[in-house]
Symmetry: C2
Subunit: 183 residues, 2 copies
DNA sequence: AAGTTACGCAACATAACTGTTCCGTTATAT
DNA sequence: ATATAACGGAACAGTTATGTTGCGTAACTT
């Protein structure tokens, strides 16, 4: 039941609803569960949304590869998968867009979804430095920012025309590693 | 009057409202203009929003510098300024988040806001290739995607801690140009 | 089998936005 | 000065969500 409702919320958000506009009436209609039962379980929309975000957390892969490039591509792919999922992407977009209306939810999102990816990225970068694959003078925050941006922004703007999504992350990593200047 | 209402909408969106949740009652209250007058001028919320997006278009700077790095930094700064503006950033985020509910608006946003920046970026990249500042084998779409992502994503995730925003764009350009691998 | 828990259905008052209408007032133009 | 256009105020019915309550039923426990 819990899972059905959380799932229904994700469906509705994925279908175009907004955190503000989503009504518990909609959720009840969608899931076939009485509005009453929903009110019994969650005392506010915020609590329900919090459980939805909790359901979105997934374990990140371990950094098993020896190559920093490989590890970073893996992380970007994971993040990209998440962005590719219509429901979770829309949920994330809506949380960002309505951060002011749901500040706690936004914070939870940053802490449970964004931060872990960020942390793993930095770890991979640091290891890349240790094994001499990344120059030691590179700003970890800056590089991390660039890479995470690439996976997140892809959804926000549809400017990616004629870009092979399968290999995009790998090619972006190569681009950032090798640079675009002539040797 | 026209301008006052459009401005009021931007204020409200910037203050946390959603395209869906924003009511013309709110707009009337905010602007002090009677709800009646608003209905007379715009027959739907979509038309009003369309004018709001129109008000957000700004001319992009010409690519006057000789250096591709400089031109690209300039473009990223312009884009970053836009993202820094609380109202326009929120408007953009909301349009993306509610693309399904307002497909025409989303298309207009892509065409009038995103596409021009994208186009200018690619032009700058192409010139960089011509003058030998960028390797000819670099995929323009890929590079453009990475750079535009950086400016757009900055808003979506607040992972940018300890990053000097003033110089961030320049340093990102340098990072992408020079690469992170040891020479 | 009896008790507890969870659920669905229905109703309720309250509140908010919509779209439209009618009417009075204030500018603006010629 | 007078006609036209633009505006504000107020009211209207229709729709929708909220939060709560009462009641009947189904399932699960011991």
């Amino acid at each position: 039941m819990h899972h059905v409702i959380v799932d229904g919320v994700l469906d509705l958000i994925g279908g175009g609803a907004t955190l503000t506009s989503l009504s518990l009436v909609d959720v009840a209609r969608r899931t076939g569960i009485s509005r009453n039962s929903i009110y019994r379980r969650w005392h506010s929309k915020d609590e329900l949304f919090s459980d939805v975000v909790k359901s979105m957390t997934r374990p990140l892969p371990d950094l098993t590869k020896q190559s920093a490039r490989e590890n970073l591509v893996t992380l970007m792919d994971v993040s990209f998968d998440r962005v590719t999922d219509q429901r979770e992407r829309r949920m994330a977009e809506t949380i960002v867009a309505e951060a002011q209306n749901f500040p706690d939810l936004h914070e939870q999102y940053l802490a449970e979804i964004v931060a872990p990816l960020n942390h793993a990225m930095k770890l991979a970068i640091r290891r890349g430095k240790e094994i001499g694959e990344i120059r030691p003078d590179i700003d970890e925050n800056l590089l991390c920012d660039v890479l995470v941006s690439c996976t997140f922004a892809q959804s926000s703007t549809n400017f990616t025309e004629g870009l092979d999504l399968e290999s995009a992350n790998r090619r972006k990593i190569d681009l950032v590693f090798d640079g675009v200047s002539p040797m």
